[in-house]
Symmetry: C2
Subunit: 296 residues, 2 copies
């Protein structure tokens, strides 16, 4: 399979679904909705919803009827980026080559754009007119999985830990925990959302979760490597930022060569987790390879 065209096709499906599901910028709330839409449509590879789609496909279920529900994962990711970029947090001016939300709309509007997105994600996840054939029990499971992943013991907790360690070197074990919360948890729950939609059995669910945890780690390692080796063009944001702020990274702990080895090992483990899946698991396999080999 051609992973690039697969990803592009899925990305376009997600773009068009996002356009449909987001509120229109009308009436008194138009400015607010515009601030929300600005960041949702400021680019992005749509990795999280694509993972949910590819996971449903691995379980031989067509993900298309579930797209409006699945795109909520991208809204949550966008909310996290808007808040991470804020002056009080990472204070970033650029994201994917474009001015960050607070640079365009101001700080208050940016905080509220993020706040709206997370609520709206839950509005979609709980909307009875979306993915109508999904049983309530599955929907509840998705809601609980996603909400747990992004709260105090997940994504937001990880970001709080990241902020707390600003300007301090982070021990490797703490760094692992931080990443498993800050970025790993949403990736895991994206795969799990696809697994619930695809009616995975308990063993399949566990295998897919293992896969998700390994690609989550690969993502982070590759991000760290790009930060050291990459350039602004590839990332659409300034590089060297994490080092400049003395944040700890994998290359700092392990050295660049060893970090590359770790990334390759982690991809292998992700692939091993998928052993029981047939050819319909190929998109997930190619995504795992793509995360590391796209730039290396």
């Amino acid at each position: 399979m051609n992973i690039k065209s697969y990803l592009e096709e899925r990305r376009l499906q997600i773009e068009s679904t996002l356009k449909q599901v987001l509120p229109r910028p009308e009436g008194l709330l138009a400015d607010h909705i515009n601030a929300v839409r600005y960041s949702v449509f400021a680019g992005g590879k749509r990795v999280r919803p694509i993972l949910a789609m590819a996971t449903a496909e691995a379980l031989e279920r067509n993900p298309e009827p579930y797209l409006p529900l699945i795109t909520s994962l991208e809204l949550i990711h966008t909310y996290a980026l808007i808040h991470d970029d804020l002056p009080a947090m990472d204070d970033d001016d650029l994201r994917r080559g474009k001015p960050t939300n607070h640079k365009v709309f101001g700080e208050a509007a940016a905080i509220l754009a993020g706040d709206s997105l997370v609520s709206y994600a839950f509005e979609l996840l709980s909307d009875p007119e979306i993915a109508v054939d999904l049983p309530d029990s599955s929907r509840m499971k998705i809601l609980h999985t996603v909400s747990r992943a992004i709260g105090p013991r997940g994504m937001v907790g990880g970001q709080a830990l990241d902020i707390a360690y600003e300007d301090r070197k982070i021990p490797l074990e703490t760094l692992r925990f931080l990443h498993s919360c800050k970025t790993g948890a949403l990736i895991r729950s994206s795969v799990q959302t696809g697994a619930i939609i695809g009616k995975a059995g308990p063993q399949q669910f566990q295998a897919l979760t293992n896969y998700a945890d390994h690609i989550g780690l690969t993502f982070q390692i590759v991000d760290d490597l790009l930060d050291v080796e990459g350039n602004t063009e590839k990332l659409g944001k300034s590089t060297g930022g994490d080092l400049a702020r003395k944040k700890s990274t994998y290359p700092e702990h392990l050295g660049i060569e060893e970090t590359h080895k770790k990334a390759r090992d982690t991809v292998e483990k992700a692939l091993e987790a998928l052993e029981s899946f047939g050819r319909q698991g190929d998109p997930l396999r190619e995504i795992a390879r793509f995360i590391y080999y796209r730039d290396n």
Copy 2:
């Protein structure tokens, strides 16, 4: 009935439930959890969960088994207060007589404490081990009602509108819409949560929604009146704040006398909405009266 002792009894039940349901400040995330807990336990009358409880009671259902679910409404309210108080928003140093979250923990930690609370509320609302006898369909209905109430066309949208109108006079119609989003929507969904728990029929549900909309408006009018007439002791925050920032208030539009009349009329309409409820609706009735007459 003695409304003061009713409210105090319910408040204590909610306090003790909040202590049980919130994560413990342990391990690496202890500082973050402490920031979350600080604002949850910084006082507050717990009006929203009490409304949900009193509504379930009006439908002859004991709300106690549903308390862990119901307290999520207070977590959402706390999240809104933390974000409203931020320097980029209302820039308040005091809330209920105590330093605001960002004054104690810093701006980044305060943004994240709010972010955690809203996710955690959804974690509770979707937890299958909470309120186990509640059917999934009811739980889904609560989740959809609450998420819709606090998103871009609800609480957060209202706050965005409030920020947009800072330093500008707001037309009365816009002010009504702003309040119906910013504060009204969560109050309405609190009553509706109780109505869903109490298995309200369609007419009861509509009557309770009408009640909620009228007490939501009463709340706002009384808040405006206190801001003009009140003192710091009563509110635990500086008064005259809204006028100082040239925000529009009901007294500004209608004059103080007419605003008092409007508050009394609105209480009457809230009571009329409850006409079909027997004595078990008394707590809701007394709450409606209490909102206005406590200070007038």
